[in-house]
Symmetry: C2
Subunit: 335 residues, 2 copies
Amino acid sequence: MATPSELVAETLGGSVRALAKLITLVENEMSGSTEALQKLYAQTGRAYTIGITGPPGSGKSTLTDKITREIRKKGFTVGVIAVDPTSPFSGGALLGDRVRMQEITSDEGVFVRSMATRGTLGGLSKATADTVKILDAFGKDFILIETVGVGQDEVDIVRTADSTLLISVPGLGDDIQALKAGIMEIGDLFVVNKADREGADRVVTELSLMLDLSPSRRDWRPPIIKTVGTLGTGIPELVEKIFAHRKFLEEGNDLKAKRNERAREEIIHLIEREISKYVQKMLKYDVNFEEVIDQVVARKQDPYSYARKVTEPFAQYYQIYKVDKVKPAKDKPTP
Amino acid sequence: MATPSELVAETLGGSVRALAKLITLVENEMSGSTEALQKLYAQTGRAYTIGITGPPGSGKSTLTDKITREIRKKGFTVGVIAVDPTSPFSGGALLGDRVRMQEITSDEGVFVRSMATRGTLGGLSKATADTVKILDAFGKDFILIETVGVGQDEVDIVRTADSTLLISVPGLGDDIQALKAGIMEIGDLFVVNKADREGADRVVTELSLMLDLSPSRRDWRPPIIKTVGTLGTGIPELVEKIFAHRKFLEEGNDLKAKRNERAREEIIHLIEREISKYVQKMLKYDVNFEEVIDQVVARKQDPYSYARKVTEPFAQYYQIYKVDKVKPAKDKPTP
């Protein structure tokens, strides 16, 4: 059994077997996983990430497959992270898609990984972000993150990509199947898949209208691309547009801004997770906690006051931290 | 404009207007909301909560409506919390349902509230739990929590209820539309809605088989009830079974165990949220944080080490706390 350090070294050396094991280690937050990620980190930041999301039945997996092949044709390597639905209701259809997806894994330039782990505090998004880093350090040029997009979590995951594709299909809902304002904003490219179906042009028109109404995004107007995933129709154009978006981001300051924002969110989540672990441990070993629970259930104590009491020392630390670190700015009110 | 204290007093005094305002205050975490909840808390713990979930299109809203009317017939008051889909893709159908649901709000014994707020750290589940408390303190005998059940968050919310109803319908998926093992476990009662459709008996049989295979739950075998929500068929039987489940929980030790578990989870989440707020504030006012982000993006520093460094004082506090509070048990390893 290889140690985490050995797995890192072997992954950086190009071993696919070590890569797979390292992802499992990190996904399950096994001992040594944080140290492994720390070691890898300097080797990351080179890959370009593409998020792909849309409602169930919009053909995301087939599109992901075809986009992967198209990018491979250009000579780049690809990592695919398929975020399986954490939804307990959304059925086993995705499993079949995954089996189809395996076809392209016989190509050595492609590595496919499914993610389904879900811890307590954003476990899935952390596992995905960590896997992106591992694939990045391994040397993949492009990393595709596909989510089923039924939950906010999945949308949050895909939204952190450099380019985000929103997939629609004709005939799924009344009008634009609820591609509401909130979700429109995360799309850098809009794909109308299954475009050989009736109503595809209407979907394009509606998307276009909604884009007209949504707040401007400086100089990038998200293109709308019609595809038929199963036939491969429109895929070369779609990939061209993805590359165009990348060029746009790189030429402006937008890629840096996007990645800074992602780093900010990631750091905050990591801190929250660290603290959450301490809290859980603390309460687990606190012999009084069971009594507190009884009192809360009996309404002799309220949970809000108790939570404040427990976090009081942290509040004090925050005060100290503030005095120590913060240059008071005149235009900023003290918190 | 009433103060939070006044809103609490008026809510406890029976003002529906104050009740609505108080929920808004708490949902948006406005100033004074925690104090309001602290004040209310002693008046809670009387209501019985019923969670209702199922896949989109299973007729949850209609069932919720009919269950509400049936419980009202028995002379009890009802609060309904409809957790709107945070799913960006799941369309506007629910809005229409909500409009229909408004019909029963002309009944003074019923209060209906939709929830859609979603903060960073379990905002929706906190808002729902807080609203349950407010409705409970207001004096509602039963509180129905309906979620669209497409995401894990929504399932987590509904799972905290005293009795949880899982809705299925014929013809939604291949077999039992992926009522997988994980989700089976949260159901205390299974409803096959739209039971006038073809295939209803097959769904009942499959559910029954799955229940045979799932781990035993002491003495409660979840009943399977066929309903046609739109016609009201099966609703009296369903409500009878809910009352039977309540009786079962109350006679055993299960209701206490369930509520203790809920209190435990709630306290942990409250502590995490408190700390998370401090962290966000701390980083917001830390003039070095932007620089750290730049270094992380430039791969000169890794986010994991930084997160550990920031949480180090909390780790120390945890050590002190441990020494102070924990009686070391011989059979427990130190964490």
